[in-house]
Every structure is written in C-alpha cells, then in structure tokens.
C-alpha cells in the first residue's frame, strides 16, 4: 500500500513549462509515474510533449483536477508565487501537494500553514526532494516519483525513509538498495523551519502501513521535530527505527544551507537530539555511512525481516 502515493496516483505539475519543472516532469514520466496534467496560468490549452506523452496544460489547478482526475500536485513554481500555488491546491480539493520550491519566505509559509490547517489537503515540503513510492519494474520503474529524487536508486520493498535533506535521503536509499533492502515510500519533508508535514506525521503513517516493516529517520540540527518524533516512537511505534542527525560539527547561530538548520538553544543541537534518540530506543547511525546498517541492527534485535 505504501504511504501518501501509489503507482496509480494521478499527478499534476504546477510550473511544468519552467526549465526545472519540465525537466523533472520528464524524468517522472520516464519512471512510469502517472503525470496527467500541467498547470501554468496563461498557458491553458497548450501541451507538454515528451516522447509518446502528450500532457494537457491548464490555467488552474481546479481545471486540471476536474479534467484529468489528478489528486496530487508537484509544485515547481518560483518562490514569490509558491504560497499562492499551495493555497490553490487546497482550494481545488487535492489530497496532497508536494512543494519542491526552495526559498519561500517564512512569513508566506506561516500564513499558508494557518490557512490549510482546516483543509483536508496534506502539504509535504517546501524545499524538499519530494516523495517516491518505488515500482516493481527494473530499477524500481513503474513507481510514483513526485519531485526531484533520482528514481533509479530505489527498490520496491518494506522500509520507510523520512528526511529533511535531499542528498542525505538518496544516500540512505542507496545504502539500503545495494544491500538488497527495498523501500515502501521515501519522503523528503524539506529543510525549511515551517513545513507542511513533520517527521512525526510521516512516522505515524509508516507505523500504520502494513507494508512498512522498518523506518529510517534522518534529521538535522534546529527545531525539536526529531525529538517530538522520537518520544512518540518510544511510546507507540511497533517497528524498528534507525536514526541519523546531521550537523554535530555545525557552529551555533549559523544557517547551514537549509533555512531550518540553525542551532539556537541547547535542545536543538545534534548531540541533544542523538541523546534523545538513544533514550527512545532508536538505533543511531554513528556516521552517515552507517544508516542502512543501523536499521539492519535494529531489525535484527527485534527479529523483524526487512525484505
């Protein structure tokens, strides 16, 4: 079943006529994802062509959803217009919006988060690599790839991955795949301080998903989202969890690439988070090279088969 998206999910792409959105729409089509519509205001009626694919473009998300049955959006629009793009998805009644855009003003996200709180739509991101549910084909073809992750490194299987960082997610996925361990769904929740979906939200979904047997949670300095998730895991999670926190060498007060990665008080340092992980029974990866092995250790200790 996986979480959030399945190979059958019908996806629209906001910003499909831009370089970035267009390039990744093509990669998703190549992967076998059901990209059924594009949205660019003012370009409705045109088409996005890629090989045999002839994808209609609409002026609005509502039009695209109505005409194609798309329920999920991948958002690639530039930062000044991204908040509006998210609100448009919620208004059109989509079930999920995945905002890839990096650099959205924090205030815009504060307002968006408040506005969508009463809607049924879930937001993943922004500033995230997206969501991948690997398919059953060769190099995981036939899966649902929303965003910018490299599809081919995945393998269909039973491990859920959740992370704030893009390349660190790929690192973890790759480590799992080369060990023959597949993934149910991989979720990049994004590196911004205000995001739609937290580590905990994803962990709860993995815990409820019968096809997920183990979880890799990757976090970093800043905020208390990982700590919140770890405490919930201790109390409720039935599955083995491995964790890694990036940024133990980061100097206090400096923003390390991600807007959310800034060490403020004593509670949001890497050391503090790692200590909470250990206390909550999460197997800590001692280095980023150890993420897959840490999960293997955690699964073995509980007698859980990961593949």
């Amino acid at each position: 079943m996986a979480i959030l998206v399945t190979p059958e999910t019908r996806v629209l792409v906001q910003g499909i006529t831009g370089d970035f959105g267009g390039r990744h729409a093509k990669l998703s089509l190549d992967y076998g994802t059901q990209v059924v519509a594009g949205v660019t205001p003012g370009k409705g009626g045109q088409f996005f062509d890629h090989g045999a694919h002839h994808i209609p473009i609409f002026n609005s998300v509502a039009d695209a959803a109505r005409a194609t049955g798309a329920t999920v959006s991948a958002i690639f629009v530039p930062p000044p217009f991204a908040a509006d793009a998210i609100l448009e998805c919620a208004d059109a009644g989509l079930s999920l919006a995945v905002a890839i855009t990096e650099g959205i003003p924090v205030k815009d996200m504060v307002r968006v988060k408040r506005a969508i709180a009463e809607k049924s739509m879930r937001l993943v991101g922004p500033n995230c690599p997206g969501v991948v549910t690997p398919g059953a084909g060769e190099r995981s073809q036939g899966g649902c790839r929303i965003g910018i992750a490299p599809g081919y490194i995945h393998k269909k299987g039973r491990v859920g991955v959740v992370s704030r960082s893009g390349t660190l997610t790929y690192e973890a996925v790759y480590q799992l795949t080369v060990r023959g361990i597949g993934q149910s769904t991989c979720v990049g929740i994004g590196g911004d301080p205000v995001n739609g979906t937290s580590h905990l939200d994803v962990i709860k979904m993995f815990n409820d998903d019968p096809e997920t047997a183990g979880i890799v949670m990757i976090g970093e300095i800043g905020g208390n989202a990982e700590v919140e998730a770890a405490r919930w895991i201790k109390a409720h999670c039935k599955k083995p969890v491995a964790g890694f926190i990036a940024g133990s060498t980061a100097p206090a007060g400096r923003r390390m690439g991600h807007a959310g990665a800034i060490v403020g008080g004593a509670e949001d340092t890497a050391a503090a988070k790692i200590a909470v992980f250990t206390e909550c029974g999460i197997e800590v990866a001692v280095t980023p090279s150890d993420m897959a092995d840490a999960l293997v250790r955690a699964a073995k200790a509980r007698g859980v088969a990961l593949s």
């Binding site: 650099g103 924090v106 893009g166 300095i221 940024g247 100097p251 280095t287 980023p288 090279s289």
Partner: protein
C-alpha cells in the same frame, strides 16, 4: 541577514518604537556633527559590529569595553576615537575579532527597570511568538534555565495578528501599570508590526527599559531578516554591510555556492546541505577537523567547481580536500571532468580525496583515474573520510 544596532533603531523608530536619541559616525570628522544632534550630558558610545557581548569585549590594542558610558559629550568623543578603526574581540566574534567601522552615540537614559522583549518564529507552532521577561539586560538563556517562571510567551495567530487582549495580558504580567502600561502596550504593538511587515527573522530588545518619568524605551536592538524574503525588501537589502561578512562567503554567494568558513584544516566540497553537514561530521568522527561547509547545490557546473576550489584554497589553514558528491540526477562524469579541470587550473598541491556515487559513476571514476593527477578515490563516505584524515595527518 543581520543589520547594525543603529540601523535597527532607525527602523524601530520608523514603526513608532521609542528609542533613546542617537546618531552614528563612520569617521572622526563625523563625530562632531553626530554629537551636536544630542543634548549635553551623559552619553553612551557603542561600537557597531554584528556580534553580541560588545560591552564585555576587549580591543586588540588592549582598550577594554566596546560599549561605554561617558559623563559628557567631550568624553564621548575621546572614547569614540579609541574605538573607531580598532578591532573588537567579544565572546561571539572569535579570536580574530571585528573591526569597528561605525560608532553610535546615544543619550544615556535613566533606568528604572530593565526587561527583555523579543519576537521570533515559534517553529513548533509555525507562528510568531513574543518572548518577554522581567529580567532584562542579562542573558535570556540563563533566565530561561534558572527562573523559567519569569519568561512569558505569547503565540500570535497569523490570521488575526497580535490581539489587544494578548498585549494587555503580557503588559500586566510584566508588572506595568498606569502610564507605563500604556506606553509598553504601544511599544509592543509597534515592535510586532515592524517584525511582521519587514519579514524579520528575529527582533530582540535587551534591555527594554522603563524610566523614572514613565517612558518605556528600547535601549538596545538586534534585528535579523529572513533571507528568503529579501527580494521584496530592497530598502532592507540596502542596509547590508559587507564589511561584516567573510570575503570568501561573499565570493561563494556570487557563484551560487553556499560556503561557511570553519576553523579546521580539511576542506569539503559537497552537493546538498544535509550531505555537506554530515560530511563535516564524518571528518570529525574519524579524528579530522573540517575547514568549511560548502554546498555546491544540485546541479554543480564545471565553473562552479572551479570557483569552489579557488574559495577553498583561499583559506591558508586548508591542508587537504574532500569532495563528496552523490550524483542522483546529475552525471558523475560531468562532475569528475569539472574536478580534473579545476585541479589543473588551480595547480592543486594538497591531498585530494574524491567520493563519487550515483548516475554514471563508473565513467566518472575512470575520468579521475586516467587524469594522471594524484586523486585518491573513496568508495563510501566513511572510506573517503578516513583516507583524507590520514593523508592530512601524514602530511603534517
């Protein structure tokens, strides 16, 4: 983005937050003009640098105190002359300190009581939060740790803004009454308007003071802005002071590279922020010390890689380089070619370990191997990190 205290105070005033009268000067000639704007009497002289702890700071020439109380304007002028152009070292500047290029004169206010007031993002709530305390003029972290009951928080609903009842409640909890309460309420509302309308990341007033005559003033002000919002605030971008930034970081931003200097000797060049942070961590884990954070982004080009190498080598502490690339979408061979070209162009003599993984990795590794250059290849992050740490230790 950070700004100086004198710039922050001007912005506060614009939004109706009362501050002590003040004037800034960048040259000794400007001292006289600045001081004529102030009344005769007790005057503060404040070094303007983007770092806290100025009062307890020491200048590299031995002069003590980056913030001074003076009994007269004449004395203030002399004190300013000892600060301007000299380098101030505080707990937050690091041992190199910062050169004082602006001094700020203000009227020395009579203080009845000091408070703390800040507005920032509450990440857990995803909403703005006002943090206030009856204990001002000290480190707020210390207050939070020792007497948490003296810290008050007000989370603001962004759909409605700061509500009157929230202001009344906060002012009462801080112990204000009568005319003082009225003034404090106005100040808090104005400060929130400034935070919200300028897309500030944080506004911190420490101390906020009351005076014997019932005034409430922002005696100090530290303001930073959300970098993602600067595109809609050209008047704030104009306040940026490049003298306060590392020249290597400025150069990096011109090439869309994200670089932060650290004090170790192994330079890192990585794609992706999370991977870049954990590359620093793994160097430390195996006994080395990272010289920098450097994220070349998702689509590193050859010219970016060359620029990155030049910036890294501009740091004389660097004794070795670790390139860690997970080429998910981008072609590892393009990166490998960029690395080879960069090494040739800069004439690299230092040990270099490259770990490539991902798309077209075999061709990339072949390009490195056949280059005739001394490039050590690492198989995993752990393997590569151990190799560079060892090479740097051996060379030392």
């Amino acid at each position: 983005m950070n700004i100086h205290e004198y710039q922050a105070k001007a912005l506060l005033e614009k939004f109706g937050v009362p501050v002590p009268k003040g004037a800034a000067a960048k040259t000794p000639e400007e001292f006289i003009n600045a001081l004529t704007e102030l009344p005769e009497g007790p005057t503060m002289v404040k070094s303007q640098i983007h770092a806290g702890g100025r009062g307890k700071g020491v200048f590299t020439n031995g002069y003590k105190g980056g913030v001074k109380f003076c009994k007269s304007k004449a004395e203030a002028k002399e004190v300013a002359a000892r600060m301007l152009g000299n380098t101030l070292v505080t707990a937050q500047t690091g041992p190199a300190g910062r050169k004082v290029q602006t001094v700020y004169f203000t009227v020395a206010s009579d203080i009845k009581k000091e408070y703390y007031l800040a507005i920032l993002l509450d990440r857990a709530a995803s909403r703005p939060v006002i943090v206030a305390s009856t204990e001002g003029g000290v480190e707020i972290e210390k207050v939070a740790h020792e007497t948490p009951e003296k810290i008050f928080k007000v989370v603001v609903d962004p759909a409605f803004g700061l509500a009157d009842f929230q202001v009344r409640d906060l002012v009462a909890r801080l112990g204000f009454s009568g005319a003082e309460a009225k003034n404090a309420s106005k100040l808090i509302r104005s400060l929130y308007a400034m935070y919200w309308e300028t897309d500030a990341a944080m506004v911190e007033v420490n101390p906020l003071i009351s005076t014997p005559t019932g005034e409430v003033l922002a005696l100090d002000a530290k303001v930073s802005f959300d970098d993602n919002s600067l595109f809609r605030h050209p008047q704030i971008v104009a306040l940026r002071d490049l003298n306060e930034e590392d020249p290597k970081e400025i150069e990096a931003s011109k090439h869309a590279l994200n670089y932060i200097a650290l004090d170790g000797n192994i330079a890192c060049l990585v794609n992706g922020a999370g991977l870049a942070m954990s590359t620093m961590d793994i160097i430390k884990h195996f006994g080395g010390s990272p010289a920098n954070f450097l994220d070349v982004g998702g689509g590193a080009t050859k010219s970016q890689v060359v620029a990155a190498f030049k910036i890294i080598l501009g740091d004389s502490n660097v004794k070795g380089i670790f390139v860690n690339i997970f080429g998910g979408i981008m072609d590892c061979n393009v990166i490998a070619t960029g690395i080879v070209d960069a090494v040739r162009e800069v004439g690299l003599k230092l040990p270099l370990v490259v770990r490539l993984e991902g798309n077209n990795v075999d061709a990339g590794k072949a390009t490195l191997a056949s280059s005739g250059l001394t490039i050590v290849s690492g198989d995993s992050m752990a393997d590569a990190a151990q190799k560079i740490v060892k090479l740097v230790a051996t060379a030392a």
